[in-house]
């Protein structure tokens, strides 16, 4: 067949979100690919230069519509580094609980969409059904299901409602019962293995030189997790292990993320069980009139990889002088053309889904 360029996106059922992978196809095999993004670009970094820190906080939830609080927490940690404020112990434990619940919810969305790319419609429904429970926990804790606007500079907005702790512990036990079911439906199914083993293989040194991080890098075999490399909040007091894969194909990305759901569930339990008493905001902290003239680079482990914020204060106003948001998926999506050559037309959605695209954080 003559070679032709096919658009996998932006209006395409297999792309989660608005982005376009142009694919040059010879028959069924892919010869070359190009990524086209920018459909959801809102200029968040320019807006940030015109708003005070607190007024920019709610926008952080919109940075990634599936893992909202992870970006808000990252931003508040960056500002706290800039202002040299440390939130009280209890607030840090609450932040860890919120981050890990957010990771489970984000991985469930990914698992559902990954199944849908292979025609496994049951997987979406189970993924979304179990995510509902976590969204209910969030709506009890923060007042909103998705746009929580919960972390504040110097702490968190409010303390845990009294019923939250045992409901969250029961929800985590419920989650542990659900994971074997996901494995039955995907892990132990031959069809799933046929569609994911050896698909979109990303060797380790290519992953490092491309700048892939998080589950993509761990699937290629390097045990690297910002929570272990550069422990923030109270992660160094909680014990969890970092799952890795062997040869960086679709199968390893699935096993790595599924294992991460288990680890996050146990992390939530640990954080809830040994959470100290105390107030949730740094006592007597007031936002200063002027941000100190410093630059901060704060990294955190976003469900998709290494999210980071480069914040520059200019010592004159209380607005950030420059805010650079390092998005892990931005690198993963632009890196796809480097390892998609030779794949088949049906593998393209699996490879695109493997990168777990969340377009809001890619286009900023």
């Amino acid at each position: 067949m003559t070679q032709m360029w096919i658009n996998m996106g932006p209006q395409h059922p297999s792309t989660h979100g608005l982005w376009d992978l142009l694919v040059r196809v010879d028959g069924e095999t892919i010869m070359e690919a190009q990524t086209k993004i920018g459909y959801l670009h809102r200029g968040v970094e320019k807006i940030a230069e015109n708003r005070t820190i607190e007024k920019f906080l709610p926008l952080n939830d919109r940075l990634c519509y599936v893992a909202n609080s992870s970006w808000t927490t990252l931003f508040t940690m960056a500002v706290e580094d800039l202002l040299e404020v440390t939130p009280p112990e209890r607030a840090q434990y609450i932040r860890v609980v919120v981050l890990e619940l957010q990771r489970i919810a984000s991985h469930l969305v990914w698992l559902g969409a990954y199944g849908a790319d292979m025609g496994l419609l049951t997987m979406i429904l189970w993924g979304w059904r179990d995510r509902e429970i976590i969204l209910d926990l969030f709506s009890l804790l923060t007042g909103a299901r998705i746009m929580h606007n919960f972390p504040r500079v110097g702490g968190v907005r409010n303390d845990l409602p009294p019923t939250f702790k045992d409901r969250a512990l029961k929800a985590m036990d419920y989650m542990d019962q659900r994971i074997p079911e996901y494995e039955d439906l995907c892990g132990r199914s031959e069809l799933f293995a046929m569609r994911t083993r050896g698909i979109g293989v990303l060797p380790l040194e290519k992953a490092i030189s491309l700048g892939c991080t998080g589950p993509m890098l761990r699937a290629s075999g390097l045990e690297q997790d910002v929570r272990k490399e550069e422990p923030y909040l109270v992660y160094d007091r909680l014990d969890f292990n970092v799952p890795t894969g062997q040869n960086g194909d679709g199968w390893d990305r699935y096993t790595v993320r599924l294992e991460e759901i288990r680890q996050s569930a146990s992390l939530v339990r640990q954080a809830l069980n040994n959470m100290p008493e105390g107030d949730v905001m740094a006592p007597g902290f007031k936002m200063p009139k002027v941000l100190p003239a410093k630059t901060i680079y704060r990294r955190a482990e976003d469900p998709r990889g290494e999210g980071a914020i480069y914040l520059v204060g200019d010592g004159k106003t209380n607005r950030p002088y420059r805010l650079k948001i390092r998005s892990p998926t931005y690198v993963h999506l632009l890196a796809i053309p480097f390892y998609i050559k030779g794949a088949r037309m049906s593998d393209v959605p699996v490879i695109m889904g493997g990168a777990d695209p969340c377009m809001a954080e890619v286009d900023r």
Binding site: M1, M4, I6, M8, H12, P13, S14, E28, G115, A116, D117, M118, G119, L120, L121, T122, L125, W126, R129, L185, S189, E190, L191, F192, M194, R195, R344, M345, S346, D347, V348, P349
Partner: protein, 409 residues
């Protein structure tokens, strides 16, 4: 008393009754002679028309029932509630009218044709597909009497017309001037080529046992032992090949939502899309019907015939063969829906591998086995356990051998 004669009696009683009434009312002129002459000439044609319309209506009702079963079952398998639509409380929770709502919606939708598409083939594609699928309905009997036509080689005719559809899919996919539909059409052709031969070979085994292509004979031979007990391997090959013929989930690449938007149906909307969807379910019904006739003993029921005295004096005897046949068809269809809920989609090269390197050798082996055993044992009709064991044991060891080498990879 088969369907044709009953219908012929009904039609002639009706027409003569009306004509008699008219003549009684004093309408004897030359017009009446012309009408009687025409009826004399067209008597046969009218009866055939009535029979065919009856079979068509039953086929379409079955399609609607299967659509509803698919929606509800695939939902319950995935722990959700499917459509709960009901009118003013009637069928509140059953979603009964969802299907009619869909049909009406598709009828009302605008029927667009892409600008640079080949308009005629684009329009003809779905009609060929539905036409060839409906044509097979004629050849599939529902019980001894109840068949539009009981050809001597009914099975051959059915398979020949059934294999016509991928040609229509390929045509309409290519004519829609859209990259996705072109890929969809190509895939349908590859899939048909790779899975047609194992399908026919698995049927050949059954036909050899039954000795005739006539579907009614195949059913009669299976009175004591269903062929699934004698031909388990053939059944596995038949089901896998039929799923890929009908283009359902594990092998629904021509219409793969994930990568090809909607495969070859991408450019269709309104009535044409309804045709394409309906064709899918008609072919599903036919696949299951032939499967039931070949392997599950058609309309012969394990329940011994019984007679019941109805309270108002009538008598009712035995399980109605037609209903028993439809129940079995629906059960086989439910298995297909269950497979759809559990499994994902395979790639095109994997279908070709399965078709050529897995199903074909399996079907050939089964055929050779059947020939060998028929040559040695003079009468298959000896005690069923012996015949069953003679078939099942080699099949089991074959599957175990294939299993150990992970042949599905």
């Amino acid at each position: 008393m088969d369907l044709y004669s009953t219908m012929h009696g009904l039609v002639s009683w009706l027409v003569n009754g009306i004509l008699g009434l008219l003549e009684g009312a004093g309408m004897r002129g030359p017009v009446m002679q012309l009408v009687r002459w025409m009826y004399g000439a067209l008597e046969h044609a009218i009866t055939v028309a009535v029979v065919v319309v009856l079979i068509l209506v039953i086929g379409l009702l079955m399609v609607i029932l299967m659509l509803w079963i698919e929606r509800k079952l695939i939902a319950r398998l995935a722990d959700r509630r499917a459509t709960m639509l009901g009118i003013m409380g009637i069928g509140k929770g059953t979603g009964a009218i969802q299907l009619f709502a869909d049909a009406i919606k598709l009828l009302l939708k605008e029927d667009t044709t892409p600008r640079k598409a080949d308009k005629y083939i684009f329009a003809v594609g779905p009609s060929i597909l539905v036409g060839s699928s409906l044509l097979v309905l004629v050849a599939v009997p529902m019980s001894d009497g109840f068949a539009a036509s009981d050809l001597k080689d009914g099975l051959l005719f059915a398979m020949a017309v059934f294999a016509f559809a991928p040609f229509a899919v390929f045509l309409s996919g290519w004519s829609a001037n859209n990259k996705y539909t072109l890929m969809g059409g190509m895939r349908s052709a590859t899939q048909m080529i790779s899975c047609e031969i194992p399908l026919l070979l698995s049927i050949a085994g059954v036909v050899m046992l039954a000795g005739s292509f006539r579907l009614a004979d195949i059913v009669h031979v299976q009175d004591r032992t269903w062929f699934i007990l004698l031909q388990p391997v053939a059944f596995v090959v038949y089901i896998v090949a039929m799923i890929s013929e009908i283009e359902r989930i594990p092998f629904d690449l021509p219409e793969a939502e994930a990568e090809l938007v909607e495969g070859w149906q991408t450019e269709y909307s309104g009535m044409k899309f309804a045709f394409a969807m309906m064709a899918g379910y008609i072919r599903g019904y036919i696949g299951c019907a032939i499967g039931v006739i070949l392997f599950f003993g058609g309309w012969s029921s394990p329940v011994p015939a019984y007679t019941v005295d109805l309270p108002w004096g009538g008598r009712f005897s035995g399980p109605v063969p037609e209903l028993w046949f439809l129940v079995k068809v629906l059960l086989l269809f439910m298995f297909l829906v269950w497979v759809r809920a559990g499994l994902g989609r395979v790639r095109v090269d994997q279908i070709v591998t399965i078709g050529w390197k897995r199903l074909l050798p399996l079907a050939m082996f089964n055929l050779a086995l059947t020939v060998a055993l028929m040559a040695f044992s003079d009468d298959i009709g000896t005690s069923p356990p012996v015949a069953g064991a003679a078939f099942v044991i080699p099949a089991a060891c074959l599957t175990a051998a294939f299993w150990r080498w992970g042949w599905f990879r």
